[in-house]
């Protein structure tokens, strides 16, 4: 039963954003093994829980629109090898950036306010988290002017 009139374009964007969230959840699982200071550990746990929350809410929205949400891949291949804390955090930043691209694209493909609000929350949360990680490893600039801009 479909109660959300989702356009084809919006459905594609929402499915891609979900794909990025699936990947982020996986990447946080991997990176957690390389981050051992208590402070970073709890930051990893908090961010991972945010991604799970967005993933579930997105699945729910897609189902409401009568679209079967795509499932997570069994594993993802990091673009750079993860060998230590900093390379793990750089991978987290990549995952967050992919989520930002996904959420911005959702904003640009639908006018349904519930979905826009969800996408704005996703974009804000992921951009903020990416900035925190950049600060953690001293990467500049830590805050981007337009997160999610392709």
């Amino acid at each position: 039963m479909s109660t959300l009139p989702l356009s084809e374009q919006a459905s594609t964007a929402l499915r891609r954003a979900l794909g990025a969230e699936h990947a982020a959840v996986w990447v946080y699982g991997l990176a957690g093994a390389f981050v051992d200071e208590a402070q970073a550990e709890s930051a990893v746990a908090e961010a991972a829980s945010n991604h799970r929350r967005f993933r579930e809410r997105t699945e729910q929205l897609l189902r409401e629109a009568g679209v079967e949400p795509p499932v997570a891949q069994p594993a993802y291949s990091p673009p750079q090898p993860v060998t230590d804390r900093n390379s793990a955090i750089r991978l987290l930043i990549t995952a967050e950036s992919d989520c930002a691209t996904g959420w911005r694209s959702v904003l640009e493909t639908t006018k349904i306010s519930r979905i826009r609000q969800h996408a704005l929350d996703g974009l804000t949360t992921t951009a903020t988290q990416a900035t925190r990680w950049r600060i953690t490893i001293g990467e500049q600039p830590a805050a981007l002017p337009f997160p999610g801009r392709p």
Binding site: L120, L123, T124, P141, P145
Partner: protein, 165 residues
């Protein structure tokens, strides 16, 4: 300006199109001297752009007054200036006829930086929180491209708050 055809033929389609194409220029030229011209609804992004300029100016002022905050405030100034530029571009893209009049707006004068460093940082954080809210509030009603732009800008202001945290 187009002069009416001299040979007595009625205005053709091409002539009408040419006249229409000339209208924006005429409007821009007369805007300053016509008391009765109806002002157009201002672009909602004007206020967002103005806030971006004023935040950049505040960050610059704090940077000069409080060298301890130089790194963070430089980041805020750079990002908020990028916001102002991108918004100006978008405003002009949608309404090219305002481009000529708005480029002559003088730079926003720097607001005074609070004397204490922590007060200054708090003032900048407050400004960024308001900027985030202002942009986020616009997202639901914006056309698609602008929803992406303002949503991204709101997320960027939230990120800047992390830099100042």
């Amino acid at each position: 300006m187009e002069s009416p055809p001299q040979d007595g033929t009625p205005l053709g389609r091409r002539a009408i199109l040419r006249t229409a194409a000339l209208l924006p220029v005429t409007a821009a030229l007369t805007a300053g001297c016509t008391a009765f011209s109806q002002p157009e609804e201002p672009d909602p992004l004007e206020a967002v752009a103005e806030r971006a300029r004023s935040d950049a100016a505040l960050a610059r002022a704090i940077q000069q007054a409080h060298p301890d905050l130089a790194e963070e405030t430089a980041a805020v100034e750079a990002v908020r200036s990028d916001h102002a530029r991108a918004l100006r571009q978008e405003i002009d893209r949608v309404n090219p006829q305002t481009a000529e009049t708005t480029t002559s707006i003088p730079p926003t004068p720097a607001p005074p930086a609070p004397q204490e460093a922590d007060e200054a940082a708090a003032a900048l954080k407050q400004a960024l929180r308001e900027a985030q809210r202002q942009a986020a509030d616009l997202v639901p009603g914006m056309p698609p491209h602008r929803a992406g732009l303002t949503g991204s800008l709101a997320a960027s202001c939230a990120s800047l708050l992390e830099v100042l945290a």
